[in-house]
Amino acid sequence: MQYEAVIGLEVHVQLKTKSKMFCGCATEFGGSPNTQVCPVCLGYPGVLPVMNEEAVSKTIRTGLMIGSKVAGFSKWDRKSYFYPDMPKNYQISQYDLPLCAEGAVEIKLDGGKTKAIGVTRAHLEEDVAKSTHFETTSGVDFNRAGVPLMEVVSEPDMRSPEEAFAYITALKEILVSGGISDCDMEKGQLRCDSNVSVRPIGQKEFGEKVEIKNMNTISGVRRALAYEIQRQTAALQKGEKVSQETRRWDDAAGRTFVMRTKEYAHDYRYFPDPDLMPVVVSEEMIAAARKLLPELPEAKRQRFIKQYGLPEYDAGVLVADTALAGYYEKAAVASKNPKAISNWVMTELLGKLSEAKRTIGECAIQPEHLTELVALVDGGQISGKIGKEVFAEMFDSGKSPGLIVKEKGLVQVSDTGALEGFVNEAIAKSPKSVADFKAGNEGAINFLKGQVMKLSKGKANPQLVGEILQRKLRGG
């Protein structure tokens, strides 16, 4: 029998705000333990939460970006469970009236096809603290406790680990482009749990679902799901039952382990938080959020193709990374040759960045300098070959191409007198090539050209050199 997987994802995203969800403590990552805390986020007796408006507005913005219905009336609930990383032993979350309901994220499949993955809801809650484990004890750092956290719950619309991978990638792209979150998984800004079940192809009902936790990277999600689908399929094939449970992914071991079974499922005892008033999302709030909407990746791709005359492929690569697209656009918008800018970015820049293991944000070359470089090449001040040399220097030093060209005396030689000198020298040194050319081997001229370039240290204007050579060889 053939089986298929049914996958749903719960993605937790830390929102990019300066202060925490319910108090004024900083959200900055990497602070010394328990220095970004106060009575409120430590759950001291008598404290009360006050909601961060930026977190609410970013969640509304997310809803608009994924086509959600943004609720008119939304409220906050307490979700009770005891855990040392939860200061109040209840989490302020949203139960039955989330800020955003429904919506979809489009993913790209092989062969250029797309698929819409439904989003059930997106709601706002508070993050928990971070625990460090020692031999017999654990230590808790509450710096992270209370950071605004948005949970985006998908429909069980994915059928393969690849689709799940594509979903997270696409969601991440939307959230980063919207300024909602930096989605840095290493910093825990994006975390993901999954529900996965397996059923015979053709069967309508879902199989027994298993929740998987602790998938810390996007590729980890793919590996965990692949493992789990294989495990469940094998069980079904052997006639065994898959039991409803929560499992933990161990990336090093490459397998999942049981965390808790159904009997130990939580009883969260949700009820409306009496300390927090509901949010009634007005037309004005939606209009304000709409104003801050970024261009969606697909719209940006279309615009790049049209506005900058880029091939689809280039536009696709550039838009896939919001920061890269922004960089490109800064350079391209001031350039007469945006296609050339794209070429530089796609080949030289991305190559160098990956070699140096740097992100575009860490790139020393200012976008304006790239514009200048393209202008220098196009204007014939330097050759394309010198251009690459200048580029390498720009990448290392961050200097402007004009300055580098000046400092190193790299201006292209277009002076006919000087060029004739180089040409004469090359002809004199390479009688064989001259003879070959005259015997009808046109290609031999390239060797001579190369000699001229070498003599000029690459600065000779290649086009002029060609013309002079032709004239001299044919004439003489």
Binding site: P39, L42, G43, Y44, P45, G46, V47, L48, P49, V50, M51, R78, S80, F82, P84, P87, K88, N89, Y90, V140, F142, D267, R269, Y270, F271, P274, D275, L276, M277
Partner: protein
């Protein structure tokens, strides 16, 4: 005349004139406490040196002589409200040794008004109770009869004020915890409209019902204290941004033409006959003063106790979850985290708190949530609507505060339900979120125990309530009676 017997407005007059200093006022209270608190046990904690140092600072700065409302006036604080640097145990073993790291909003207000933060008063553990017998640190005795309870949960604050051990004290009222002990001890206890006074820094029992309020020796002092405590606090999102009237200036207008509602459901069989007689006499008095009496109905009164015990315990079960021995308070070690939680909480909480946590947890648990908790919330709506309709026909509502006077220590400890029913006249007020005051309106004959009159007002109708209470008080002598200690 000893200073400790004065009201705030009398003391302030002397302070303003420079006849007495804040130190003298404080010392006089300390002496009084020294002489009577051994019998009453109203205070849990007191640092005489610190109190005198605060008084000296106020004397030096001249605050006592300027116009500050409470300049140089010592105030006692229920052990459920945070004062930075002072202990805050909520009369619970689970917070034994805990020191507050911040000031409650109301405490900031008291400091700004020039008050001296005198000490911590006893209470039922986490404000759960009606007799102060649920304190982990011992029983507080009623100043009128040491064999009897002072009421609760703010029994320490009520007893301290009634026994001249404090000029005023803060309490908290979730289902009557200010008004009922005020009634049983014979002082004035005011429960403001929900949202009138910030809850920031008040350790939560039931967040949608809790409200901080003052105990005072008379209504004028209640108005003064309320003026200091009331006002918007951005740290409490349930705090209502509504201007605070000058409650003191609003006194003295009388009750002529005011409509006073008498809810027929509050004059019930089984009420103490002397209590009923005293309240009827008080109503007659108000009528003589020019008020119009109208009969009203609050038809869902009979359900209030049930609604209250479901909602309050449900909220409390979550509010008290934070006491787990991880970040502060006491810890009992265990084999693992779950065991540590269970043992810490099992050893830290007293029987009534445990009972309520269990009830509240149960009322919210899967399968029972809608039958208990949601149903209670819906009946709460009906109770709120009862008051809305009633207030279309009257300006204030007058009732007994409690169906009976102070009972004997230990009399009801084994029957929680009987204890819960002490609060039948006070609980609806919290469910509806309205304001109310209890003030003395007489005594039983033998033994001589105080009886309280409750005056209830519309949301943010504090001025009217104070006006009626003041008019009655000025026409009677009850508030001047003092226990013989």
């Amino acid at each position: 005349m000893s200073l400790h017997t004065l009201t705030i407005h009398q003391l302030r007059e002397k302070l303003r004139r420079g006849n007495v200093s804040a130190r003298e006022a404080t010392q006089s209270l300390l002496d009084r406490i020294q002489s009577v608190d051994g019998k009453l046990k109203a205070y849990l904690w007191l640092d005489a040196e610190d109190a005198l140092a605060q008084a000296d600072a106020i004397d030096r700065s001249g605050i006592a002589k300027n116009g500050k409302l409470l300049g140089g006036v010592p105030v006692a604080i229920k052990d459920v409200i945070n004062v930075e640097g002072q202990p805050c145990t909520c009369a619970s073993k689970i917070l034994k040794g805990h020191t507050s790291v911040y000031d409650a909003f109301v405490v900031q207000r008291l400091r700004e008004a020039g008050a001296i933060l005198l000490g911590r008063t006893n209470m039922d553990e986490f404000a759960m109770g009606s007799s102060t017998e649920n304190s982990s640190w011992g029983i507080t005795h009623n100043p009128w009869d040491l064999e009897r309870i002072p009421g609760g949960s703010s029994g320490g604050s009520a007893a301290a004020v009634a026994a001249d051990e404090a000029f005023a004290a803060l309490g908290s009222d979730t289902g009557g915890s200010i008004r009922q002990p005020a009634s049983l001890c014979g002082c004035v206890g005011f429960k403001p409209t929900y949202g009138r006074v910030s809850r920031y820094g008040l350790v939560a029992f039931a967040s949608s019902l809790d409200q901080v309020g003052p105990f005072t020796k008379d209504v004028a002092d209640g108005a003064l204290m309320l003026r200091v405590l009331a006002g918007h606090d951005p740290h409490d999102t349930t705090s209502v941004p509504q201007p605070v009237p000058d409650y003191t200036a609003g006194l003295g207008k009388g009750v002529k033409g005011l409509r006073i509602g008498l809810p027929k459901e509050y004059f019930i069989d089984g009420m103490d006959r002397e209590v009923e007689a005293a309240v009827r006499a008080a109503i007659k008095k108000l009528q003589d003063l020019g008020a119009e009496i109208v009969e009203i109905s609050l038809p869902h009164t009979d359900y209030a106790v049930a609604v209250y015990y479901l909602i309050a315990t449900a909220e409390a079960s979550a509010n008290l979850a934070r006491f787990d021995g991880v970040r502060y308070g006491a810890r009992v070690t265990g084999e693992d985290v779950i065991d540590m939680y269970g043992k810490t909480r099992g050893a830290g909480f007293g029987p009534e708190v445990k009972r309520r946590i269990i009830l509240g947890t149960y009322a919210l648990s899967a399968g029972y949530h809608d039958a208990y908790y949601v149903r209670a919330q819906k009946v709460r709506t009906l109770i709120r609507q009862d008051f809305e309709k009633a207030f279309e026909r009257c300006d204030v509502i007058v009732t007994p505060t409690s169906p009976e006077v102070a009972f004997r220590i230990g009399e009801k400890t084994d029957d929680p339900l009987k204890m819960y029913l002490c609060d039948i006249f006070t609980i609806s007020v919290n469910l509806a979120g309205i304001c109310g005051v209890s003030l003395p309106c007489g005594f039983t004959n033998d033994p001589r125990l105080p009886i309280g009159l409750q005056v209830l007002g519309k949301p943010f109708g504090e001025e009217t309530v104070l006006g009626v209470a003041h008019a009655y008080e000025q026409a009677t002598e009850w508030h001047k009676a003092r226990p013989n200690l």
